[in-house]
């Protein structure tokens, strides 16, 4: 991608971006404040800037007069950068933002995402060798001399062609066998599944279908389900889709789902809700591509222990009660149709093995994908989902724990929370002096809600600007209409009704912040307990891998400011994205890794936090921004001091009700 340079004046701040980058995003990256409240749809007309030099491409702008256009005014959000440009941000657009000069550039997690090359190094076991293989067989026609049965004939050919011994033929395939092989003149394709302990021929098709083969990788989350359609020939993801788990209407967390499952038809309802969610996503993905349903040969599904039980229709009730026992840790390959996922005949699925009741296959899958089980280095893997799970260790040992964080960072339990889909606010800056926001949404649409990365941004910005105090309470006495008091506490308006995509104000409330604070506190407390248990200082951890579905722009320094992540050298932090989905994807393609997953599930030790007397203390200690012990967050303390200085220099300090 060609790079171009964008310089913003009067700050004289320059940044290199890809040619074609949106100008407002470039400003966000350069940490130059431009008022923007419609998410980048060109609707609010607030982000006026003057292009003094260079070329930008702009969409039709009805918000500018001809006179303004002649002067070089553009709306930053509707422009893409086409060459090196110099942009002047007029005073009314930055609202006297003197603070911009002192602010540090943000550290986007995007740049810290593991690359394909890194995976190759981390996962030497990986090879393109999926658990199902299609064999195109040209069978010898039977004669009086060569009078083997149809089934034995297929086995003989598989042995001759691929050296496969002892293949078991699936019963439904036997039924199809006599008619099908004769109708296709003994020219057939047989799909063989390697189940680890046995080879099983699971499907027979006419002619040669071996060139088209696909599989499905699934992350079955409590709140969100994400899927990928993978081409087994190339190893590429050819389609992706995600949605909220249909089980949400029966309860937000695993505990309420388990309780629901004990009702009369509860388990069946939950199973069917999960199945329909997965099935709809598969349909969406197939529709997006030219892949056919019958090309799909298997699925790998990684979910927490409860999700796996519910999907398989296994009674999960004992997971919830002391001593917290799941029915199974390892799940066999089964026909997908057995649970109601009817893609084609002979499609098998496997749930990734779990470690314990509250550390499931999603974590095993993530640990697999992260390669930490191969690493010499002391590694901390953190999965931020409805449950926060952490794994500490390396190739020699792995210790895991789980804490209930709630679905807040996935957008549930937050008034205007949403997934990272169109119109979701994903990046936010708030000016320390004017307290006006700058927001960018997914797809540059008018804002309809806030996704995970946006929520982390909002909290960090509200905190740095002093709009929100350490307890997460919004100071409603500040001189801006953006903050106001309601019956349920304070709130801050990110976008006014007329700028939003819903015709309602998009706000973040005290109650939202409280839920987010609980989530971050649980996760941080879990991390601390894990480290304490092994008597390891956070500074001794060489690499911290973050997994979770936040959207694209999670900024790690923001996550540290709110105390979600420990205050460590940011170079140690890497983002693996949705680890559970990534692991599923890798396992779909490589049976070696399926075997590794079993090994990981077996080697991981589980630490039960519900009986840990220190957890509550750690949790309450973390129910504060960034933390009760500010000494553990030295860089945050510095940034706070700077932000307070800036606010003081730029205008009246946003103090409380001074005397």
């Amino acid at each position: 991608m060609e790079k171009v340079q964008v310089c913003f004046y009067p700050e004289s701040r320059c940044i290199e971006v890809d040619k074609g980058e949106n100008l407002l995003r470039a400003a966000m990256k350069a940490d130059v404040h431009i008022n923007a409240s419609c998410g980048g749809e060109g609707y609010c007309g607030k982000c006026r800037v003057i292009v003094e030099k260079g070329e930008v491409k702009q969409k039709l702008q009805v918000k500018l007069t001809e006179e303004e256009a002649r002067q070089g005014y553009v709306l930053a959000c509707t422009c893409t950068v086409e060459s090196d440009v110099e942009v002047r941000v007029p005073i009314e657009t930055q609202l006297g933002d003197r603070s911009a000069l002192t602010r540090r550039p943000p550290i986007p997690l995007k740049g810290y995402t593991l690359s394909a090359k890194e995976w190759a190094e981390r996962l030497p076991q990986w090879e393109l060798n999926p658990p199902t293989t299609k064999f195109h067989l040209l069978l010898d026609k039977p004669t009086l001399e060569d009078n083997l049965s149809d089934a034995e004939r297929i086995k003989r050919e598989l042995s001759k062609l691929a050296g496969l011994k002892e293949v078991v033929i699936d019963y439904p395939m036997l039924q199809a066998l006599p008619g099908l092989i004769r109708a296709s003149s003994f020219d057939v394709t047989v799909t063989v599944l390697d189940r680890g302990q046995e080879l099983r021929a699971v499907r027979i098709e006419k002619g040669d279908t071996s060139v088209r083969q696909a599989a499905i990788a699934v992350d079955l989350g409590t709140t969100t389900v994400s899927t990928q359609l993978v081409d087994l020939q190339t190893g590429q993801v050819i389609a992706e889709a995600s949605d909220y788990n249909g089980q949400i209407s029966y309860g937000e967390d695993v505990i309420s789902r388990i309780i629901y499952s004990t009702r009369a038809t509860g388990l069946a309802k939950l199973q069917s809700a999960a199945v329909s969610t997965i099935w709809n996503l598969i349909q969406q993905m197939v529709e997006q591509t030219n892949m056919e349903f019958c090309s799909i040969t298997h699925l790998v599904i990684s979910g927490n222990t409860t999700m796996a039980h519910l999907l398989l229709g296994i009674d999960p009730r004992y997971i919830r009660v002391d001593p917290y026992i799941p029915v199974a840790q390892y799940f066999p390959w089964i026909k997908a149709s057995n649970v109601g996922i009817r893609i084609a005949s002979g499609v098998y699925m496997r749930c990734t093995p779990a470690v314990a009741s509250y550390v499931g296959g999603d974590i095993v899958s993530g640990v697999l994908a992260s390669g930490m089980f191969n690493s010499e280095r002391m590694t901390l893997y953190i999965d931020i989902g409805t449950n926060g799970e952490m794994v500490l260790g390396n190739k020699d040992w792995l210790l895991s724990c789980s804490c209930s964080a709630g679905p807040a960072f996935e957008g549930a339990g937050v008034r205007h929370g949403m997934r990272a889909t169109r119109g979701a606010i994903e990046q936010v800056r708030i000016n320390e002096v004017t307290l006006e926001p700058m927001i960018i949404t997914v797809g540059n649409r008018r804002p309809v809600g806030i996704c995970g990365s946006g929520l982390i941004d909002v909290l960090a910005e509200l905190f740095l600007t002093g709009i929100m105090d350490e307890r997460g309470k919004i100071n409603v006495d500040l001189p801006t209409p953006r903050v106001r008091k309601t019956d349920s506490g304070g709130e801050y308006v990110l976008a006014w009704a007329e700028e939003s995509g819903t015709n309602r104000d998009v706000v973040i409330t005290d109650v939202d912040i409280d839920n987010l604070m609980r989530a971050k506190a649980a996760i941080y407390a879990g991390i601390n307990i894990l480290l304490q248990e092994m008597a390891i200082d956070i500074d001794a951890v060489e690499e911290i891998l973050i997994a979770g579905a936040f959207g694209r722009y999670l900024e790690i320094d923001k996550a540290i400011i709110i105390g979600l992540l420990p205050d460590v050298d940011t170079n140690k932090l890497k983002f693996v994205g949705n680890g559970s989905l990534l692991g599923s994807y890798l396992m779909v393609l490589s049976k070696n890794l399926i075997a590794e997953a079993d090994r990981i599930a077996n080697m991981m030790t589980y630490l039960e936090l519900s009986t840990n007397p220190r957890f509550m203390d750690q949790y309450v200690s973390a129910l504060f921004f960034p933390h009760t012990n500010i000494e553990s967050f030295p860089t945050v303390a510095r940034r706070l001091a700077e932000a307070r200085e800036t606010a003081k220099a730029g205008g009246p300090a946003p103090g409380g009700e001074g005397a």
């Binding site: 350490e470 307890r471 203390d617 200690s621 001074g658």
Partner: protein
């Protein structure tokens, strides 16, 4: 060579807080409670004698009412009696009359009572509101204004009203008590919030919430002990405030303290029972680390004073 007791010493110490204007100080110790063989306790723990402004004659056990029945309706006379006859170190005036669930007296009226009490005695005065989140702010602000220059200790500032009470203390140069529900972290958090508000941490006293004997005393003990350990062993500056224990009110809430002998004959002499309950609660919390104990019954006060004398000698 003679045996020498090993000493655990520290450079950390509890902040010394000046109360009132007569040179009374609390805190300042660099050792765990009464470990005077390891360091110093420059100020002995203080007894603050409770005075109520709502004539609690009906509500209280006759055992407590008896020694004060002639002054119970007059907070000024009551405070004088405590200061002159019982040797109170402080007065803990509780403006219960302002309680919206009770008499709901206006803030100004209560503030005048507070001023009258502060004027009548030479010892420092703690002024507690009715512990009502909505009303305390107004009441204590009025008190802070009325008693300007007296350095009274207003409180308790809690999570939901710390801003108004903190601002009142800050604006009119009074000290304050920060109260949190039996948790080390919450206590520390409130201190951070108050200091962010601009309140001088050297004017804050912590009330970690008191559970009386039989009613959670062990929790309070543990929290006080942990606060002291954090302050002295970990040099945690946000826990280095002196502690106050609300002994009188909590002890006399206990059924075992106030039940008449006619109801519970097997519990023993009702004239001693409540007093002993208060003494045990107070001495336990002194050993846990209380720098101030707020007390009620003159006999209990007398005994606890003796305990402090002995431990300090």
């Amino acid at each position: 060579m003679a045996f020498e007791l090993p000493k655990e010493t520290t450079d950390s110490k509890i902040r010394e807080v000046t109360l009132g204007t007569g040179g009374v100080k609390v805190g300042g110790e660099n050792v765990l409670p009464f470990y005077t063989f390891e360091g110093i306790m420059p100020n002995r723990p203080l007894i603050a004698v409770e005075v109520y402004d709502d004539n609690p004659v009906e509500a209280w056990s006759p055992v407590v009412v008896e020694p004060i029945k002639d002054v119970i309706a007059d907070p000024v006379a009551w405070a004088r009696r405590a200061a002159e006859e019982w040797g109170a170190d402080l007065i803990a005036l509780r403006l219960k009359s302002t309680d919206p669930k009770g008499d709901d007296k206006p803030a100004e009226e209560a503030a005048q009572t507070a001023k009258a009490v502060a004027d009548a005695v030479s010892i420092p005065v703690i002024v507690y509101g009715a512990e009502d989140m909505d009303k305390d702010g107004d009441v204590l602000k009025a008190v802070a204004i009325a008693a300007e220059g007296k350095n009274v200790i207003i409180g308790p500032a809690m999570e939901d009203d710390y801003k108004t009470i903190g601002a009142a203390a800050l604006g009119y140069k009074q000290s304050l008590v920060a109260k949190t529900p039996i948790d080390v972290n919450l206590a520390k958090q409130l201190n951070i919030l108050l200091s962010n508000l601009g309140v001088d941490v050297g004017t804050i006293i912590m009330d970690p919430t008191t559970g009386a004997l039989g009613y959670g005393l062990e929790y309070t003990y543990s929290v006080m002990e942990r606060l002291k350990l954090a302050a002295l062993r970990q040099d945690d500056s946000m826990t280095q405030m002196p502690l106050v224990a609300d002994v009188g009110t909590e002890s006399w809430k206990a059924k075992e303290a106030k039940a008449p002998a006619s109801d519970e004959p097997q519990w023993g002499d009702e004239n001693k029972r409540g007093v002993v309950w208060e003494i045990l609660t107070a001495t336990t919390l002194l050993v846990a680390g209380a720098d101030i104990v707020m007390m009620r019954h003159p006999e209990a006060i007398k005994t606890v004073r003796k305990v402090i004398d002995t431990l300090m000698s």
